[in-house]
Symmetry: C2
Subunit: 410 residues, 2 copies
Amino acid sequence: MTTRQHAQQLDEASTLAHTRDRFVLPPGVIYLDGNSLGAVPVGVAARLAQVVADEWGTGLIRSWNALPAGGGDWMGLSGRVAGRIAPLVGARGEDIHVGDSTSVSLFKMMVAAARLRPDRRVLVVEPSTFPTDGYIASGVADLLGLELRWCDPEDPLASVDDDVALLNLTQVNFRTGAMYDLAAITAGAQARGALVAWDLCHSTGAVPVDLTGAGADFAVGCTYKYLNGGPGSPAFTWVAPGLGARQPITGWMGHAAPFAMARDYQPAEGIGQWASGTHQVLALSALDTALEAFDGVTMDQVRAASLSLSDLFIRLLDERLPQLEIVTPRQHASRGSQVSFRHPQAYAVVQALIARGVIGDFRDPDIARFGLTPLYVSHTDVYDAVEHLVGVLDGEEHLRPEHQVRNAVT
Amino acid sequence: MTTRQHAQQLDEASTLAHTRDRFVLPPGVIYLDGNSLGAVPVGVAARLAQVVADEWGTGLIRSWNALPAGGGDWMGLSGRVAGRIAPLVGARGEDIHVGDSTSVSLFKMMVAAARLRPDRRVLVVEPSTFPTDGYIASGVADLLGLELRWCDPEDPLASVDDDVALLNLTQVNFRTGAMYDLAAITAGAQARGALVAWDLCHSTGAVPVDLTGAGADFAVGCTYKYLNGGPGSPAFTWVAPGLGARQPITGWMGHAAPFAMARDYQPAEGIGQWASGTHQVLALSALDTALEAFDGVTMDQVRAASLSLSDLFIRLLDERLPQLEIVTPRQHASRGSQVSFRHPQAYAVVQALIARGVIGDFRDPDIARFGLTPLYVSHTDVYDAVEHLVGVLDGEEHLRPEHQVRNAVT
């Protein structure tokens, strides 16, 4: 049987032991839900206080330009954040736009893709993807008179034929943590003439991604999960350089010269055209500081720590709770940075764990999932979480009435 | 000649003298650019600190629900902010969505309008509007195969015929401060079968608006100008109840049951469908507190104070600088809450004023404009600003080389 001492030894050997201090974690909590909302990075509160007091409060409108005393330059903020995200996804900052929600970003990207393949009428989406991808695709299909085709999750390429404009896949499944081979699927779909877009919401900052190496066409990602940007922080969109894609929400910030205030729209060059409205300065500032948690950290280090954590989690479940059906792949190449299992009372099990200070989350209909953010989750966290899970199930704590009551947000 | 003592008397008589203390204004600055970015309301810094430390930091993912100790309930935050905006525009909170940028909101609204009038192929926009309105309309026209028609700013209804699906107008012009008669134009366009959408970016919180009384169809507004929500704060969209409009960015937050995570999209009832992505919690929290500055204030009070300020500004310009061409209408019914004049060196004049601590702004090609936010701008501010303007022009300070150099953002 694996011991807590073994978990401690793994923590001591981790190359990311030092990054836990880059986060403010509440006492008494084991936080395994960073794949839904990342924890608060140290420095974010101070950054927001400084932005409000100095940049907004004293600089006022002048802070769209760089301030003489430092700070401001809000016009360049989105680009600076893009530069921080770029190395996490194998891309250049100048090909990344940061702004809008993931849903709005998916919409822009899907419309742009459809326009690049005007003779193809099908958008392919994987049915177990995070639902907003399919919802947005259905809206785009309705709007443009296209067909939405659901593919087999086990074989997405089987649905890609000469009618397909775009294959849109989430790299890491939000329920199971299963991960696609991004490079192989990209090549396969492109060989059939389709464009390929990757939803990186559950991979960015958790697993290495090489968009450039894979030659993908588009990617969209979330910044409030493994990037810890705060609730509702803006999404990012990557567009392959040279693709010539044009997004349809042609707002003033995507104009070649926004402050000329000309009547007619002239798109900015390159990724600049992907901006629509005024930059979300408060949220971008929080995100800019949050991304400092990745300073000096390579994605190979993150991946090694992530797999070590999920390997331990799976081993402990196998040893102590073999009756549970683990739905997260055991093969490293197919696993993201979470561990999920099925339980007929999964909602109540998660609530009972939360009552013990172990925060994971539930996904309909029967999935309990536990995100492993390598920057702040330790092997002893994982060990203790499984101990609590054993305690919940042994003590039938999940059967208590208070754990059956559904919250508004589950 | 009007004296500073007279301005002081007007301040003493103002029913809004007390609301200036609801803002943090930097010493030595007269801020007349609240129509571009409102000043910081008292309480916003503390609210953000509390949201980061308690709701995000300690509550973590649980804060999407109401927290036992108070706070959280992030799912209801957008609706609470909508309830604060509602009385400022003559609407019900349950018909207002708060989220996304103004540009994205305009896009959603224009597509929804076009779908409600499928047999009409023209979108009418006024060419001197804030440019993003025209840019978005041109993008929507491209996307849906519609025609963008520019109307005569003096007579928008002349362009509304049986082919027009939507007339989109900005109520208060961002350059001149000229204001349309919202009710009369709405009725005129609707009599020709067109839908009417109002861009309230330069009116909300500055002039009384009665969307319900006017029977308008749509409105979109900015919250970082006269509502003081902070740089890049989310926009709001109002949709007339019963219109049956459906916006096209069908993201998960607009689903009838987002957390069911079902594969297929089912729109939420009413305004709920207008949400797309995850709510912008940090920005919405700041905005929620910012709107407390309107507590106990009626829009009639705001309007009276605004007109008193702009009347004084115009009178002082007439007396002291009669050579300036004031482009803001002198009739109250046609005036928003700003004063603008032309000057061949308007950019440099504004820069020279900023060097003296009077912050207004410049708009291409030759407009100097000064926003009058009644909650924090006083009559003595206006008096002193005009004194500084006289000083700049008499001393030819605008001819100094340093005031000719263009910033990145002008």
